[in-house]
């Protein structure tokens, strides 16, 4: 996890070469300025080996691309074409540690002068000159032959290091939009809204259901896109988010905003006109809360987590109001369950990202008030048990629900307790992954225990109100 020269590279070559350079740096200027030149097969093999080790050891695979960032492509004209040839000679600027930029900068300067002096095409003389200074490294490499096939990740990482034209390729757009709109998160949001719709004590209207899910999905896409639009430099600096479309320059900021508007306007309009104004209002409110409150607050105060929990709680309420047309205690209960769920989910996630959050300037409980982070996660996990028990009281579900949901609620509370007690990465990770399956499971159980409507009179009234 720590960016140290000695421990970072677990590969044999890496450690030996780096140690050699570290020892030689103060003494030999030439060694300090030498560039390690790796031929096409080797950098990806070497780095692939690193990948496997890192993925095994680390939860957040952040070092993956750090190694790649070292590579400084040499010649300009060659790189205008994205072809394999340019990877033939990859120059790696060996930076010893960021504390000593004096060491690294001369290397940059040297590479610059070399780029100016030498031809645009890599010459054999250059190669030989470089090789001479790192002959020991080369021989070491020969001693340990690795047979590696370049993995997809390594290939992607290599392509990522090249200069690319900012030109939108229409075939890539669906994938770009999916990542811009955080499709997986949107799917989860729509699921919670659908659950809210299904739990409402009214006859199920499939068309209305479909329209409200679509509207909610579009609103969620908008909110996510605007969030990414606001956070480009921060996302670039955090490992979890550095492959987002705007960070990579796959589309322009204007394009992202246009996409957001193209999703948001029809989405909210659909909810307002085809469903009901209350749902439309809630959708617009949620977009506003997420983009204009939560996103800026992330960098100003820890209260962002509570605002974010409200943002997560609104979709099931929207689903319910879409079905019934009014805010009822049942809707608020479902919202309450989602609200409480957000805390174990987010607190556990943020626990293992403390370094990235701190460096990026994000004010999260896990960094500034770790004790509170753990307490709040525990408190709300236990609160889920209470809220599940409240469901039959409000006639949302039968009494079976608190009973059959007790095992999973107890399990997440148990994990939250261990997170509170131990506060280590492992427990945080377990709590986070548990929260991912706990929520759909809970909603499913609630659905199966939904309170059946008994009177035909009751059935007639809601259908009349939904028809009007």
């Amino acid at each position: 996890m720590f960016k140290t020269p000695c421990s970072r590279l677990s590969g044999l070559i890496g450690v030996s070469v780096k140690r050699k350079l570290v020892q030689n740096v103060p003494r030999c200027n030439q060694t300090a300025r030498s560039l390690i030149q790796l031929y096409r097969r080797d950098p990806t093999n070497w780095l692939t080996y690193q990948h496997l080790n890192f993925l095994k050891r680390q939860y957040v695979t952040k070092n993956k691309s750090e190694l790649h960032q070292r590579a400084v492509p040499k010649q300009a004209p060659v790189l205008t074409i994205l072809d394999e040839r340019e990877d033939g000679v990859e120059r790696q600027v060996q930076r010893i540690s960021t504390i000593d930029p004096v060491v690294s900068q001369p290397e940059d300067v040297t590479s610059k002068t070399q780029a100016e002096i030498s031809d645009s095409k890599p010459t054999a003389e250059d190669v030989a000159a470089q090789n001479a200074s790192v002959s020991s490294a080369v021989s070491k490499r020969d001693e340990t032959p690795y047979v590696h096939v370049e993995s997809e990740e390594a290939k992607e990482a290599r392509l990522d290091r090249q200069w690319k034209e900012i030109k939108v390729n229409v075939t890539d757009l669906p994938d770009i939009y999916a990542r811009l709109a955080k499709v997986k998160l949107t799917a989860l949001v729509v699921t919670t809204a659908a659950a809210g719709f299904a739990m409402a004590p009214v006859p199920f209207d499939p068309l209305l259901f479909f329209v409200s899910c679509l509207g909610t999905g579009l609103a969620s896409c908008t909110a996510n896109s605007i969030n990414q639009y606001f956070e480009v430099p921060f996302d670039s600096n955090m490992n979890r988010t550095k492959n987002r479309p705007l960070v990579r320059g796959q589309i322009s900021p204007l394009h992202a905003v246009s996409f957001a508007l193209a999703c948001g306007v029809p989405g909210v309009a659909l909810l307002t006109l085809a469903v009901n104004p209350l749902t439309g209002f809630l959708g617009a409110l949620n977009i506003f809360l997420y983009t204009c409150c939560y996103t800026p607050l992330k960098r100003l105060s820890i209260s962002n987590t509570w605002v974010g929990a409200i943002v997560g709680a609104i979709p099931p309420v929207m689903g319910w109001t879409a079905a019934t047309g009014c805010l009822e205690p049942g809707a608020l209960l479902l919202g309450g369950i989602l609200y409480s769920w957000q805390f174990p989910h987010f607190n556990a996630l943020s626990w293992n990202l403390k370094e990235d959050y701190s460096r990026g300037g994000y004010r999260m409980m896990s960094v500034t008030h770790p004790g509170m982070c753990q307490r709040v996660a525990l408190r709300h996990s236990v609160g889920l048990i209470g809220l599940s028990a409240l469901a039959p009281v409000l006639d949302v579900t039968t009494w079976t629900f608190p009973l059959i949901s007790l095992p999973i609620n107890l399990y997440i509370s148990y994990l939250a307790f261990r997170f509170y007690h131990k506060g280590d990465r492992n427990n945080a990770r377990k709590l986070f992954f548990c929260s991912l399956w706990h929520l759909p499971m809970l909603l499913l159980l609630a659905l199966t225990c939904k309170k059946p409507r008994r009177d035909p009179e009751d059935a007639a009234l809601p259908s009349a109100s939904s028809a009007s």
């Binding site: 720590f2 000695c6 960032q69 930029p101 200069w163 670039s236 990579r248």
Partner: protein
């Protein structure tokens, strides 16, 4: 910005020629993690386009400066913190196998919190400025795009007008 006797804001001057019709975006800079962009200068660049390009380039440089300083400062302070903590414990920086000693999560949390607290105002100022610039750039881009669309439409219209009398 100088660090020692070297300008740390100087990035590698390697860049592709902006000869094509599009901008180019490069790999993330090792210090700031931001990707540099080489902007394409069209032949009949209007005032608006020029303003946009300058603003984008300026914002890119300003961002790069901030994040370079941020990342370098963070790493430096982190290592200083680790070093002082290890010293307080009476441990050396590297253990028997020569690997750097690491502090556990709780100890590091103290540093992360203090880093955020000391830089609170700086971060808030950066935020405000970044939002302002982002909005301005997007608005300008929208204006440029609309202008270009309008020009294409009027060009096509005038071409049609000038071509029909001859047929």
């Amino acid at each position: 910005m100088l660090w020692g006797d070297v300008d740390i804001t100087k990035r590698s001057i390697f860049r592709p020629e902006a000869t094509s019709t599009h901008d180019w975006i490069g790999p993330p800079n090792p210090l700031s993690n931001l990707r540099p962009i080489v902007y394409h200068v069209p032949e009949n660049e209007t005032e608006l386009e020029k303003r946009l390009r300058h603003l984008r380039q300026d914002t890119e440089d300003w961002n790069h400066d901030f994040w370079t300083k941020q990342n370098v400062m963070f790493t430096k302070e982190k290592d200083a913190f680790i070093f002082s903590q290890l010293n307080a414990k009476g441990l050396s920086v590297c253990d028997e196998q020569g690997r750097r000693r690491a502090l556990n999560a709780e100890e590091m949390a103290v540093f992360y919190k203090s880093f955020l607290d000391t830089n609170r105002v700086r971060h808030a100022d950066y935020n405000r400025e970044w939002y302002r610039r982002n909005f301005t750039i997007t608005l300008l881009m929208a204006r440029v795009a609309l202008n270009n669309m309008w020009k294409t439409v009027t060009d096509r219209h005038s071409r049609k007008k000038s071509s029909t009398p001859t047929t």
